[in-house]
């Protein structure tokens, strides 16, 4: 079975588990994003047909919630927590550091598709603020040096010389 067929089958399984209920749209979008990495236009159209919903409704929901990604993210994902506690504890300095070293703005992906920088509004680890998530790893009580180091390692150490 090809990769795209496997993914297609996985999605169909999710639809079935949720009984093709229109009210399960959010759950289905979550799973679809897990399977495909992001919610492309074709995928959203597919989902709308399966659930018998207008594509505009599905697109509307996908764009309303900030966790849904409509474009393909980079190979590595860095997410800065911009919650109150992290802000007060200086996460902004770290974000600026990442932006300037890796030439990427928040919400965007580098040209080589290696790194995406996102922000979130609180992961609930406020007592250990500031928090930055590099791929799956939460870095608590983060400092600029530690975070930049982690990202350099994630990217294969390629950026080390350029610092």
């Amino acid at each position: 079975m090809s990769a795209s067929e496997t993914r297609r089958n996985l999605l169909e399984k999710v639809m079935k588990e949720n009984g093709h209920q229109q009210s399960a749209l959010l759950e289905i979008l979550h799973k679809a994003q897990e399977i495909y990495g992001y919610l492309g236009k074709e995928l959203l159209t597919d989902i709308s047909q399966s659930l018998n919903l207008p594509p505009s409704t599905v697109y509307g929901v996908a764009t309303f919630y900030s966790l849904f990604k409509l474009t393909e993210p980079g190979e590595h994902i860095v997410t800065g927590c911009l919650g109150t506690a992290c802000y007060v504890k200086g996460v902004e300095e770290i974000m600026r550091g990442i932006e300037s070293e890796f030439k990427v703005k928040r919400g965007e992906t580098t040209h080589d598709k290696k790194l995406s920088l996102f922000v979130t509004r609180c992961i609930g680890a406020c007592a250990m603020a500031p928090n930055i998530v590099v791929d799956e790893e939460v870095i608590s009580k983060a400092t600029k040096e530690v975070v930049l180091g982690k990202i350099r390692v994630a990217l294969g150490g390629l950026k080390v010389e350029s610092v």
């Binding site: 759950e27 309303f64 919630y65 849904f68 109150t84 992961i123 609930g124 250990m128 603020a129 608590s140």
Partner: protein
């Protein structure tokens, strides 16, 4: 499983636990995990074997004790000792020493113990009574401490009206922020016409800087489930939706497991504990929208639509999910319910103050020595929370303000530190209880910049349905951009005040109605900082008037 089986599970489990002299509770919640909690857990499991004490030691994976700043945290509870020992900053290396000295020799390792035990003195743990004491992945742990005996009591001896009576007598008010009477709400749903009826448990906790509900779900998920069951029994609902934000993967996993376990012993299903009462729970996931915590928006989101609020009436009690009567409660409110049923409403009403009974969980963060999660009786003062429990401001800095109630709360100055914490006093001062966030700000922070940050957050999270919130907040943000970049006039202060009060008065939902709170409170209590920015173009904290550092 029937009603008496819960009692036998409890007895069996208590017997089983008595077999251990020591219980080692390792906090494995979202706070301690990034700091290495799982390595510590593994190290304890290995060490008790190495020292040959595994028969007398139960090593358990538990939820949060609230001391998140000194994680990984571990509690050693020894039979016969009055007080358990709390170890801070535990590492793999420290584990052997703790097992050798404390368990084998019976001598707690003093230098590794938590230093700020005074933190707990002023707390009153009701909602968090089991947090850190039970393994949330074992339903037996919860049952052994009296869990699910409240729903058994309801089904065996109480009518739905009787349960509502106790909740009314407790004078419990909704912990989601607005503080509406819980008993009254239950009565409205119980009397409403329409079938089926629904319960929606709100665990959206979108306020940045707040993690009380997450901690509760990770530490004691069954308390939420039992609260939902009792609410269902009292109001006549047969289906519950637990709406949780997807930023909390560990809480989701914990709740999923708890629901499966409850179903397995027929605490959920078509015939709860072999009685005619039918109730089941389904999880629903948010996807990053602050407004989804608003009560009509959460309904839209559970139905799979955009989380946009709608005008009330009709109230959800009469027309909620799919037009049916729906009870919406925050999970902290629900976790109070089993205790109220077991001990009676009048017992609960004695805790806290006359108008605000019970306790409240607060996430204490920002510039403070002991950040973490606390639970205090209503009516405690902000000063006690910040200085006694929180241990004051670190690095010898000076206290400047405390932000109460999340991004749409208010910034209160030092002169208001003796304010008692309850719904009414906070509202009078311009703040809100919100979902219980307390962020401490010191003299290195700029109040104008802080207020701009919150405005930016609320503007971003505004759903855009009503004009005052959508357009008003954008206008306020523009003025802030001007003030913090040197492009402002003195009149801006008046415009901010006026726009802020318009947004507050004219917005459709709670988000817009409270979004100007930081603006209005900083203008009220810290006007000198605004004047400094506008007239002298300086920022005493050095946060504003910065050139953009990012180059293309």
């Amino acid at each position: 499983m029937n009603l008496s089986d819960i009692q036998s599970i409890a007895e069996q489990e208590v017997d089983f636990q008595r077999g251990f002299t020591h219980r080692i509770n390792v906090c494995c919640s979202s706070g301690c995990v990034p700091l290495g909690a799982f390595e510590v857990l593994k190290a304890f499991q290995d060490a008790v074997k190495e020292f040959g004490v595994e028969k007398e030691c139960k090593v358990a994976k538990t939820g949060c004790f609230g001391t998140c700043s000194v994680g990984p945290a571990v509690i050693v509870d020894t039979a016969g000792r009055t007080r358990p020992s709390l170890y801070e900053n535990v590492t793999r290396e420290k584990v052997r020493k703790i097992v050798q000295d404390h368990i084998v020799l019976g001598l707690p390792v003093k230098e590794m113990l938590y230093k700020n035990a005074v933190t707990f003195k002023k707390q009153h743990r009701l909602v968090l009574r089991n947090a850190g004491r039970i393994d949330p992945s074992r339903i037996q742990d919860y049952i052994a401490l009296g869990g699910y005996s409240a729903i058994v009591k309801c089904l065996a001896t109480m009518t739905p009206q009787g349960a509502i009576y106790e909740v009314s007598a407790s004078r419990l008010r909704g912990r989601g922020g607005a503080g509406f009477s819980t008993g009254q709400k239950w009565g409205l749903v119980a009397r409403a016409h329409g079938s089926p009826k629904y319960i929606v448990a709100n665990l959206d906790e979108g306020d940045p800087g707040v993690f009380a509900n997450r901690t509760l779900a990770e530490a004691d998920p069954h308390a939420i489930i039992e609260g939902m069951l009792i609410a269902g029994y009292a109001t006549g609902a047969s289906k519950g939706y637990l709406y949780i934000r997807s930023e909390y993967p560990l809480a989701i996993q914990t709740l999923q497991k708890a629901i499966t376990q409850a179903r397995a012993i027929s605490l959920l299903g078509n015939s709860v504990l072999e009685t005619p009462f039918k109730f089941d729970i389904e999880l629903r996931f948010g996807a990053g929208a602050f407004v989804a915590g608003e009560e009509t928006a959460i309904l839209a989101s559970v139905e799979g639509r955009r989380a946009m609020p709608r005008p009330r009436p009709p109230y959800p009690a009469n027309s909620g999910l799919w037009g049916k009567p729906t009870l919406i409660q925050n999970v902290e409110t629900l976790a109070n319910i089993p205790q109220i049923v077991l001990n009676g409403g009048s017992w609960f009403a004695k805790i806290g103050t006359k108008r605000c009974t019970g306790t409240k969980c607060f996430s204490l963060t920002g510039k403070i020595n002991n950040p973490g999660l606390i639970e205090v009786p209503m009516g405690i003062t902000l000063r006690e929370v910040v200085f006694d429990i929180g241990g004051g401001i670190p690095d010898g800095r000076k206290f400047k303000a405390v932000l109460v109630g999340g991004p749409s709360g208010g910034c209160l100055p030092e002169t208001l530190l003796d304010l008692p914490i309850d719904y009414d006093s906070l509202t009078k001062a311009g703040a809100i209880m919100g979902s219980g966030g307390i962020v401490v700000i010191d003299d290195t922070d700029c109040m104008v910049d802080t207020s701009k940050f919150f405005t930016d957050f609320c503007m971003d999270e505004s759903c855009g349905k009503c004009t005052p919130c959508r357009a008003g907040l954008a206008r306020v943000k523009e003025i802030y951009d001007g003030i913090t970049s040197g492009n402002s006039r003195l009149e801006d202060i008046g415009i901010l005040e006026k726009t802020g009060s318009y947004i507050r008065e004219a917005s459709l939902c709670g988000l817009g109605q409270t979004a100007p709170n930081p603006v209005l409170t900083t203008l009220r209590y810290f006007k000198d900082e605004y004047l400094e920015h506008i007239q002298q173009k300086t920022c005493r904290a050095g946060k504003c008037f910065r050139k953009e550092e990012v180059s293309e």
